[in-house]
């Protein structure tokens, strides 16, 4: 052992491990330069590659669409070459304009998914906007179809999003039809089916299939009336027989590519009366 420790290789190993540990401790204690420096490199790569696989379309669909576009280009020779890009972008921004118009208190920031984590269970992802764009931890992440999740961590140019399918997300929710309240949170089994659960509801609750579940606004993390999903089933917990409703979000969380971060809204951070 002593012989091994006196070798040059062992000394280099020990020195390298010491450096790694120091940087790891700095990173774990929230030192921003560590994450920002590496985030700058890895996010640059991811931003480029994410664009290559944007959208849910398979090869055949893309091929057919490509043929059609070629034909269109021939017919519309006089049009601008980026006509379709502009149209698509316009349509995307129009949806968010409508969202902003109906909720003037929302400060919205459109962002794109640049990376999905291979080693995480609940389909978390990274978006291409960070603290320099005004995003902070716990900001809600939504699309026009409802809540996607919340910002889990932020660095200068990117943010990690925990999805609505994760047990780490707990949102105060209310059944829009019956007015009954509870907590929406994920589980491993339901996340596989792109579903989550409406829990902590009363045993006599009248929640039914087809009911729409929205955020309650209690807790100040999410504004009220953001759509969480539709009830698809009523079940009872295996352990304590507590009643819960299975909810299917209107967005495919596993495939979402464009989102909006709500950086500010009315009553943000304010805990309403009746919050847990």
């Amino acid at each position: 052992m002593r012989d091994f420790l006196s070798t040059k290789s062992a000394k280099i190993l020990i020195a390298t491990l010491a450096v790694i540990l120091v940087v790891a401790i700095l990173g774990a204690t929230g030192n921003p330069w560590v994450s920002s420096a590496f985030g700058f490199i890895t996010n640059g790569l991811s931003s480029v590659t994410a664009n290559l696989t944007d959208g849910d379309k398979d090869y055949e669909t893309l091929k057919a669409e490509n043929e059609k576009l070629k034909q269109d280009i021939a017919d519309l020779r006089t049009q601008l070459v980026d006509y379709y890009d502009v149209k698509s972008e316009n349509s995307r921004l129009w949806k968010y304009y409508k969202l902003k118009k109906s909720n003037p208190d929302y400060e919205i920031l459109p962002a794109s998914v640049i990376r999905r984590d291979t080693n995480e269970a609940f389909y978390s992802f990274t978006i291409d906007a960070g603290s320099t764009s005004g995003i902070s931890v716990q900001d809600p992440v939504i699309t026009e179809n409802g809540v996607i999740g919340f910002v889990n961590s932020v660095n200068a140019t990117s943010s990690k999003v925990t999805t609505i399918l994760s047990p780490d997300l707990q949102a105060g929710a209310v059944d829009k039809k019956t007015g009954e309240s509870g907590i929406v949170t994920g589980s491993a089994a339901l996340s596989d089916e792109n579903k989550t659960a409406f829990t902590k509801i009363d045993a006599n609750a009248k929640v039914k299939k087809g009911d729409i579940i929205v955020t309650s606004g209690i807790g100040g993390v999410y504004p009220s009336d953001l759509i969480l999903g539709k009830v698809t089933d009523i079940r009872y917990d295996d352990y304590d027989a507590a009643k819960y409703a299975v909810i299917k979000p209107f967005e495919d969380i596993k495939a979402v590519t464009d989102v909006v971060v709500l950086t500010d809204f009315k009553n943000k951070g304010e805990i309403k009366k009746g919050a847990d």
Binding site: I12, T42, L45, S46, T49, T53, R115, A121, D192
Partner: protein, 169 residues
């Protein structure tokens, strides 16, 4: 000039790690197997360390670990430390005690892919008290370990090819 091929080989390894990082993190680029994707950088670092001596093995292990850790958490953590250590000792063992063969590579790949992924699972899910850990392990993690291991066998052949053809005699 004497180490020209070695420099090319190290450059090829670095490029390989970057490409695998892109493959691993880009949405929809790799097919899922039972809801899981492989951690390509893990077997890549192990197969490089089978072929190289301990110090280059350690540095490539550290590079792969950094990419794995920053791929999600933006912090140096589990994979940087474990891969730096594991690759150093694999490099040392294969330099001094074992010959490089497909059988030995298979055994080491399986051993390290399985143990490191299970250890990661314990730290990330079991010890922090997450719910449904058994479900997640049986439905996602076993397939992830097997998928990672199988990809590792392909990476072994790729890295062996690089090692044989980019070597200073």
């Amino acid at each position: 000039m004497e180490r020209r091929y070695t420099v090319f080989r190290y450059f090829a390894y670095s490029l390989e790690l970057l490409l695998l990082f892109i493959l691993q993190t880009t949405p929809r680029l790799l097919p899922e197997l039972f809801g899981s994707k492989p951690l390509l950088l893990l077997p890549a670092a192990i197969t490089i360390s089978l072929l190289e001596s301990e110090l280059p093995a350690m540095f490539f292990g550290m590079a792969a670990g950094l990419l794995l850790d920053f791929g999600y958490s933006d912090n140096i953590g589990f994979f940087t430390i474990t891969l730096t250590l594991s690759c150093f000792f694999i490099g040392l063992i294969f330099r001094d005690y074992l010959v490089i063969s497909f059988f030995n590579a298979t055994v080491f790949l399986f051993m390290f892919c399985t143990s490191l992924l299970i250890l990661y699972f314990m730290f990330s899910y079991v010890f922090v008290g997450k719910a449904d850990v058994f479900y997640y392990f049986s439905h996602h993690y076993i397939s992830r370990i097997i998928y990672t291991f199988v990809c590792g066998l392909l990476l072994y052949f790729l890295n062996k090819f690089l090692y044989k053809n980019l070597r200073d005699t």
